[in-house]
Assembly symmetry: C2
Amino acid sequence: MPRQAAHLNLLFQALADPTRRAVVERLSRGPSATSELARPFKMALPSFLQHLEVLQKCGLVRSRKSGRVRTYELAPGTLRAAEDWMATQRLLWERRLDQLDSYIEDLKEQSQ
Amino acid sequence: MPRQAAHLNLLFQALADPTRRAVVERLSRGPSATSELARPFKMALPSFLQHLEVLQKCGLVRSRKSGRVRTYELAPGTLRAAEDWMATQRLLWERRLDQLDSYIEDLKEQSQ
């Protein structure tokens, strides 16, 4: 499988989970330390850390450690890669619908 | 789980598979009958039909039957829902980075 396809698999898989999307939503408002990030989620810490690992592995978030505190932040370029893929498909289709519209308009004019 | 969250789960799950993304890419160039759509995929028809069902269930594609032929087309509004969610998170984060930039600029000016 091409590398980009494998990346999109991981990326969409990561976003298919509501906890992981909630983490992305939280991080879109700014960086956060692990404990603060985990607080609103009613979940054992090891499970929560697994979600963070999935998000980090596909490049949606990155983290750095300072002393004993690890801080997470959003990596916006990765979201853009997924957005771009979707926008491309949608725009191609919308352009096609527009072409179909003009074609129908032409047919109408010819029949008048 | 709220209805929108459940829908985003299904939607991103659907897009996490390369065959299903290839179908979306194909349909972005126009509607297609099942047999024509299946042709490029080296896959048993029942497996392929399951992929189409996943895409239809989450609203990414729709189909209509005319005689014995079922035709599939892209439902662009559904792609937009996923795009909107991603764009919202990314824009919030980019705005925050901009604010941080201005704050640093201010600090620099004050220290001069």
